[in-house]
């Protein structure tokens, strides 16, 4: 540790004082617990999802899944170096896109369904035009977004022309895809960015990071609006509440949490019955009542968010689940796993 000069020390003290103030403030605002408030609500039935379809085609660990806006098509990316676009309803492959680098970590479908983006250990983000195929029937690469110093861990389309990415070099980048230029680029966290979730109105987004925090951002600005503490280990994934007033996060520390943006604090914490698994990915149902988190042990855990009770455990995958994604219409949950399968839960 370098010697801390008085000035820095003073500033640090100030920060610590402020943190204390926040805590007091949060306490003051926490006039009741979530459980107390919602204790009198009726129980929801046990989540009755079962894996109705298994999408087979990948031949290595599948790392990521994302639905298109039509709730019907989804894209998955696997370490076998392929993106597969599925018609989830028929479980057929619509398109297979071979990648230049097999190390894909994240995929994103544009809401319109016209583009898919992917990236990973190749330290770049590649955008493919799904509707525009070359002679061999493979989707054309429209953009290669370069300039990352770490692997790409998350990307999301705002619309067909705009993309936000989070990467292992702690940066958040905004891209204008029409021009192919980076419009913004800033250090988002003090650690790898692990997850990104856009708000329902597409005006803000949340990022989760291995620095154990989650941050709220405005899509137009490069400073965060709010920062959320609580997790004790890497925040692996975040998911906006459909109301836009809160978000869920899940972490390696074997918990999932629900934060409220307006009250600026954590309002509930969810744990698996046996504390035996960290979580890789989370999703909230359309009404926000169910929280689903995928565990590294291969099960999807579901909680009743309001009653803070463990609701169900969906078994089927045989290895770590890497990512889950809910279709925009809220009917179908897709999960990808190291066991090479993509499962659809209905």
């Amino acid at each position: 540790m370098p010697k801390i000069d008085p000035e820095t020390q003073k500033l640090h003290d100030e920060i610590n004082g402020m943190i204390q103030k926040f805590k007091d403030d949060q306490k003051a605002k926490a006039d009741c617990t979530w459980q107390e408030k919602c204790g009198d609500m009726g129980d929801v039935p046990k989540l009755r999802l079962s894996s109705k379809k298994i999408l087979k085609g990948h031949i290595n660990k599948v790392n990521s899944v994302h639905f298109a806006g039509d709730s019907r098509h989804c894209v998955t990316g696997s370490l076998d170096g392929k993106l597969i676009i599925w018609d989830t309803w028929t479980a057929n492959k619509v398109q297979v896109i071979p990648l230049r680098s097999a190390w894909v970590m994240t995929v994103a479908f544009s809401p319109s369904g016209n583009f898919v983006a992917c990236g990973g250990m190749d330290n770049q983000c590649t955008v493919y035009d799904v509707n525009n195929r070359d002679a061999s029937g493979v989707a054309k690469m429209t953009r290669e977004l370069l300039g990352y110093e770490g692997f790409l861990s998350s990307c999301r389309f705002l619309d067909d022309g705009h993309l936000i990415t989070g990467s292992g070099d702690m940066k958040i980048c905004h891209w204008d895809l029409e021009k192919g230029v980076k419009t913004m680029d800033f250090n988002g966290h003090a650690g790898d960015i692990a997850g990104l979730s856009l708000s329902p109105d597409m005006k803000t987004y949340i990022t989760g990071s291995v620095d154990k925090t989650a941050k709220l951002w405005d899509v137009r600005e490069d400073t965060y609006k709010q920062m959320f503490f609580g997790h004790e280990m890497d925040v692996n994934s975040v998911c906006y509440h459909p109301s836009g007033f809160g978000f869920a996060s899940c972490s390696e520390d074997q918990t999932a949490r629900l934060y409220d943006i307006r009250s600026d604090q954590q309002i509930a914490q969810y744990e698996p019955p046996q504390k035996n698994t960290g979580f890789t990915s989370c999703a909230l149902s359309t009404s926000g009542r169910y929280l689903m988190c995928s565990g590294i042990e291969g099960n999807i855990h579901a909680w009743d968010t309001v009653k803070v009770s463990h609701n169900a455990m969906l078994q089927g995958h045989e290895n770590r689940i890497t990512c889950i994604g809910l279709s925009p219409n809220g009917m179908c949950l897709a999960s990808t796993s190291w066991d090479q399968q993509v499962r659809l839960w209905l």
């Binding site: 500033l11 170096g81 770490g150 003090a190 009250s263 926000g288 219409n329």
Partner: protein, 839 residues
């Protein structure tokens, strides 16, 4: 014992595969190498194979090259003896000897027949591994019954591959056929199985030549064989420099040399030397076999062939290259046993490729010569890489990081503690417990363990001690004797120490075949304690399906292993069985258990010394500035008004109550779920704006936002407003939203347009906004430094509020909405499956 003989068309090849299974015949094999060197860090394993003297590497180096005179009549024999100590698998200690003989003999009779140009015989003798107990030199623990003395008989399974290529030689022509330089590297104990399979699908030298060919070969096989640690941090790289072949062909006829691909075992590297038609082709192969485990073997073979023939049809060469090409992608494909299937496909694909080109080139004569590895072990890759850039990048390849990470996992501290625990007097009390009629050897109770941890380690409370014990268990250092779930309970449950041989620090990455053998073996013993759990039975069934082609061998291996096991002392066997089971519990965990042997690559990247990915960096650079910035942000945070948790809860609950009807996980959908029913109603209904589902229409009533979010709803609302003569409100609001999304360059113009159209005193369609908002907007528009895109926000918010409080509520009460509501309800009900199954 399995013998397979397949005689392919005489013109090409005749392959004799002899796969022998004889555990006893170890001595008979040319050399039974247990690579002392190879063993490297695996010294702990007591290999009781006393008679195996040769170090694999040495054997390899000692490849015998006999090269006779090139003149006719003199046969030439090249023998490559490749011996590699195989991975000392838990179950089979085996070493594999592969000797490949390339013999070019004079055969006048064959020479006379143009048809028979080359004859290749591949002889494979496989002696499957005899199961040998891995034992530490000192015995796992003094308390364990396993002692070196009882260590099983020397198991030296031999795998001999003999390939003899007979090439007719003729006097006049010095036409050495391009040669196959088969380099074989054996990686796994399962070689027995593998080799047999590989040979099944041999790909051999084909020399189709009407004239005679002389071969002058110089084969040097040099091997630095780094044992087989699959998970070594750097991935074991085996470099083979194989075959510098000088070939001269002065024949005007077609010389088709199929690339010889001899795949002998698990991770065999095969060098194919396709002859291209150029006069002095120099082919450099970099074969990168990144097999599913981790090891990369690099095989470099340079073939110098000088041929005076310019026009040689060499379809086979093409085939070879094609094969290599497709192998490319297979290489480096990733980690985990998972990609096995992929590789398998690749191989088959390349085989087909090669086959087709070969047959087309040599007029069908070459058919069958190119049957490349259809049944090659799926989990191995034999990928040849031609100038592949990937290879250079290998060191940075993410998988390497994972292995580095492995180093962290196999925590030396953990092992030190385990060793302490096993200490004779100060360790955990290990004893043999007498149960009903039988004895339970070498066990300790969970309570003892926890007590020991509390006493000897700096651990405060029981929970912490339990957690620590659980960690030890989850990594497989200790295991419950009769449970697949690797946890520790603080009670009388019995636990046992894992033998150091199976510790994760040995970087195991066992193959599916090994697992198959293990499971298969379990089925052979009718002991209740060895009965397969449900998930194991399932796995077995799956594996059987997957390895159906070589199930025979798996079964054979399992059989021989169980035979050996039966000879052991009863108690010892109990311990060994349980240790083996625990090993697989770690590596093939029961569903629902955390897999501790694989790491998320993202995390590995971060922790694996990847410079820029780690925190610190930018943060540390300018502390004062950073901290000041943080303070600024914190201040902001303090100033922000936050609502109380109760309010937040209320809001979220209200949201749930409003939307639970639309949460399909709570309320089942009104239309058939398209994922389940194969009916398109839902999609069609949504696509066709006329049949807006009732739910949607109902949702319009929730809020103006919901209404405007739905395109149909917005359209309806626009119509309604037009009827009310207040359509400009929505138009204004929409154009403001639209304007905000425009690029900066167009903003000014758009703002001006909006001002002119809606707000200016003489606007064509003035919006009903209070004067204050208009004044604000005017100021913003005429601002000194130009208007910004938010200049109408106040006015727009006002208009939105107006619409919400006035028009929207009127709309909800209007007949228009009610009609729509009723109408769509009716329509929904009346829609039969009109749209059939159309996509």
């Amino acid at each position: 014992m399995v013998t397979m003989t397949s005689e392919v068309d005489k013109t090409q090849t005749s392959i004799v595969l002899a796969a022998k299974s004889a555990a006893e015949s170890a001595a008979a094999s040319a050399s039974s190498p247990i690579g002392g060197e190879e063993m490297g860090h695996r010294q702990r394993i007591a290999l009781e194979g006393g008679d195996n003297g040769e170090v694999a590497a040495q054997t390899l180096a000692a490849s015998k090259v006999t090269s006779g005179d090139n003149c006719n009549e003199v046969p030439e024999k090249i023998a490559i003896t490749t011996t590699t100590a195989t991975n000392m698998k838990p179950l089979e200690l085996s070493s594999v000897t592969i000797s490949i003989e390339l013999a070019s003999e004079d055969d006048s009779s064959t020479a006379a027949t143009p048809a028979t140009a080359a004859e290749a015989t591949i002889c494979t003798t496989i002696t499957p591994a005899t199961p040998v107990t891995p034992t530490t030199p000192q015995g796992a623990t003094p308390k364990t019954v396993v002692t070196p003395d009882v260590a099983p008989p020397p198991a030296t399974p031999t795998n001999t591959t003999n390939i003899s290529a007979t090439t007719p030689t003729a006097a006049a022509i010095e036409a050495p056929a391009p040669t196959t330089a088969p380099t074989t590297k054996t990686e796994k104990t399962t070689a027995g199985v593998e080799a047999a399979v590989a040979t099944k699908c041999n790909e051999t030298t084909t020399v189709t030549d009407t004239t005679s060919v002389t071969i002058n070969e110089n084969v040097v096989v040099k091997s630095e064989n780094n044992s087989k640690n699959h998970n070594t941090t750097t991935s074991s790289t085996t470099t083979f420099t194989a075959a510098s072949v000088t070939t001269t062909v002065s024949v005007a006829t077609t010389a088709t040399v199929a690339s010889g691909k001899i795949t002998a075992s698990t991770s065999t590297t095969t060098t194919s030397s396709p002859i291209s038609s150029s006069s002095t082709p120099k082919v450099n192969f970099n074969m990168n076999s990144a097999n599913s485990t981790t090891s990369n073997s690099t095989c470099t073979s340079s073939t110098n062939s000088t041929s005076s023939v310019t026009s040689m049809s060499t379809p086979a060469a093409v085939g070879g290259i094609a094969g290599n090409g497709s192998g490319n992608s297979a290489a480096n494909a990733g980690l985990g046993v998972s990609n096995s299937h992929y590789h398998h496909q690749q191989q088959t694909q390349s085989a087909q490729h090669g086959k087709s080109s070969a047959s087309s080139g040599s007029g069908g004569g070459a058919d069958g010569s190119h049957t490349a590895l259809p049944g090659a072990k799926p989990s191995l890759t034999t990928g040849a890489i031609l100038n592949h850039p990937q290879q250079r990048r290998n060191e940075d390849a993410p998988n390497i990081l994972v292995y580095k990470k492995y180093g962290f996992l196999a925590n030396p501290q953990m092992e030190a503690i385990i060793e302490k625990m096993q200490a004779e007097s100060t360790g955990v009390a290990v004893r043999t417990v007498k149960a009903f009629m039988s004895k339970v050897p070498s066990v300790f109770t969970g309570a003892d363990l926890v007590a020991w941890i509390l006493k000897n380690l700096d651990v405060e409370d029981v929970t912490e001690a339990l957690h620590f014990a659980h960690l030890l268990a989850s990594h497989g250092y200790i295991f419950p004797i009769d449970d697949h779930q690797l946890t520790v309970k603080n009670d009388g449950t019995f636990y046992r120490f894992q033998t150091p041989y199976f510790w994760p620090s040995n970087c195991w990455e066992p193959e599916n075949t090994d697992y198959a053998v293990y499971l298969c073996k379990r089925t052979m013993q009718n002991k209740t304690r060895l009965e397969l759990a449900d998930y194991e039975a399932e796995n077995l069934a799956k594996l059987q399906k997957m390895f159906s082609r070589k199930w025979e061998f798996i079964f054979m291996q399992a059989e021989s292993q169980s035979k050996v096991a039966k000879k052991r002392d009863k108690l010892e066997r109990k311990v060994l069985d349980s240790q083996e089971r625990a090993f697989w519990d770690v590596h093939r965990p029961m569903p629902g258990c955390v897999n501790t042997t694989e790491i998320d690559i993202k995390k590995a990247y971060r922790r694996g010394g990847h410079g820029c990915g780690t925190s610190g960096g930018a943060v540390a650079k300018n502390p004062v500035e950073q901290v000041t910035r943080v303070i600024g942000l914190r201040k902001q945070k303090l100033e922000r008004r936050t609502i109380k948790v109760s309010k937040a809860a209320e809001a979220l609950v209200a949201y749930y109550e409003q939307y639970n009807e639309f949460d399909y996980f709570i309320t089942s959908p009104e239309l058939p779920n398209p994922w389940q029913t194969d009916s398109t109603e839902m999609w069609d209904a949504e696509r066709n704006s006329k049949e807006v589902p009732l739910r949607h229409v109902k949702r319009w009533g929730f809020s103006l936002r919901e209404l405007l979010n739905d395109p149909v709803g917005r359209e309806q609302f626009t119509k309604f407003l037009e009827k009310e003569y207040s359509g400009e409100n929505l138009k204004f609001w929409e154009s403001v939203q639209q304007m905000k999304t425009l690029p900066q360059s167009e903003i000014k113009e758009a703002i001006h347009k909006i001002w002119q159209e809606f707000l200016a005193p003489d606007a064509p369609c003035p919006v009903n906004v209070d004067s204050k908002s208009v004044e604000l907007a005017r100021e913003a528009v005429n601002a000194v430094n130009g208007p910004n895109r938010w200049c109408f926000d106040v006015a727009a918010a006002h208009v939105y509020h107006l619409m919400k409080s006035d028009s929207y509520s009127r709309y909800l009460r209007s007949d228009m909405y009610k009609d729509y509501l009723n109408c769509s309800r009716k329509k929904i009900k009346s829609i039969p499956n009109l749209f059939g199954v159309k996509r």
